[in-house]
């Protein structure tokens, strides 16, 4: 069944239709929350909250990109979580392996089909990107995650974070500049395939 029909059915109270949409978009929402919050448990909670809010508020959806509308709910859920975290600061727990040692890269990121070298490269890259994303202000982080990781266009990002198009352009440029500086600082730590051209040439 096509997406508009599923949305219409869900708007009339069909939970089955809504769950089909959940299955289609849960990856996008979860990954967005994970990049903004940097914690898989909090990201899972924010994703669940976002889908519940989306179902309740489904009648307010008036067309446009449904993906952007859903990503807006998860971004709001992440902002709520970050506000909560600010009120009650806590030390985030790194994932641990069977021996209780902290893992640099969570197991779920490992692609079993990739070679060990590729897996390591991916893990290093993920670590570097997550570290650099963490250093960004929340507003910049949300914009860069939606535009560069989720592939939304500027209008969709503006719809998702509810700010004017000009602000999106400005925030995205600032976020990319900061990420460039941060990733440069990683330098040799990044796998050769992912080093910035200038670093490789230097």
């Amino acid at each position: 069944m096509d997406e508009p029909a599923l949305i219409r059915e869900a708007q009339h109270g069909s939970l089955e239709a809504f769950n089909s949409l959940v299955l289609a978009y849960q990856g996008n929402l979860y990954n967005t929350a994970l990049r903004i919050l940097g914690d898989e448990d909090l990201a899972a909670d924010a994703t669940q909250e976002a889908f519940i809010s989306a179902f309740r508020a489904l009648r307010s959806y008036r067309g446009g990109s449904f993906k952007a509308w859903l990503l807006r709910t998860v971004t709001n859920a992440c902002y709520d979580e970050l506000r909560r975290r600010k009120r009650r600061p806590s030390t985030p727990l790194e994932p641990e392996d069977e021996l209780g040692e902290e893992m640099e890269s969570p197991r779920w990121l490992q692609d079993p089909s990739a070679s060990p070298e590729d897996q390591l490269d991916q893990a290093e890259l993920e670590h570097a990107i997550q570290h650099c994303l963490e250093s960004l202000p929340t507003d910049f982080k949300a914009v860069v995650v939606l535009a560069d990781l989720q592939g939304l266009d500027y209008n969709e990002v503006a719809q998702a974070v509810h700010v004017p198009l000009g602000t999106i352009k400005s925030r995205l440029a600032r976020a990319r500049l900061r990420l460039r500086d941060c990733l440069k600082a990683f330098g040799e730590l990044l796998p050769a395939a992912f080093r910035l051209e200038r670093e490789r040439g230097a």
């Binding site: 309740r56 991916q122 993920e126 990107i129 990319r176 200038r198």
Partner: protein, 227 residues
Amino acid sequence: MNRQITFRDWQNLSAHLDGQLSPSARKLLTSRLSTEPQLAEALEELSQVRALLRRTPVAPTPRNFTLAREEHRVKPPVSPLVPALSWASAVAMLLFIGTFGTNLLGKFSFGAAAPMMSAAPAEVMGGEPAAEAMMATEAPVSDATSIEVTATPEVMLMTLPEATIVAEEARNMPLPPDLKEPGRGFPPDWFNPWLAFWLGLALILIITSLLVRWLSVFFFRRRPPPQ
């Protein structure tokens, strides 16, 4: 030509990467890129950052986030009838309160006029004005004091002036309904048929709204699970 790269340049380069520049701005930037190697290098760096971000591994979801019907927090989408009914009941309740308040104010103004009403009947019933009546009663009394008479009831009645008798009779007669003493009898003076109407309407709307909400939850929960 080497020029300092401003933030506006970075912003244009970033928008250029995403194809978000206007045709005129794109043309201008393209011409600058061909003459300013520093700007071209900046564009290349931004492009690499963007490419790197797009290669970020996608994390598989730890579980499915589908919603269960039994989940307490999952409520069905509210029928548009419910907010409409709620607003209508709120308006009806406000009208009820307004009517009640107006009637209550009316009651208090009647209450303030009550002492004067006791003097009014003589005039209302067609007798002489009060001042004349007073004069009429006072003058013969002063005459009467000079004559010594045994004060039997019959004699007293005979000696009373006509205006006093009329006033006495008027006091004993029932008042017309619109001059009844406030707060007595049923329905009370402050009662108004509109009061009953607005209160009844508000209650009906509230009950209907609750019923519609309950029915939508009921049918939502009873819907069979997907095959």
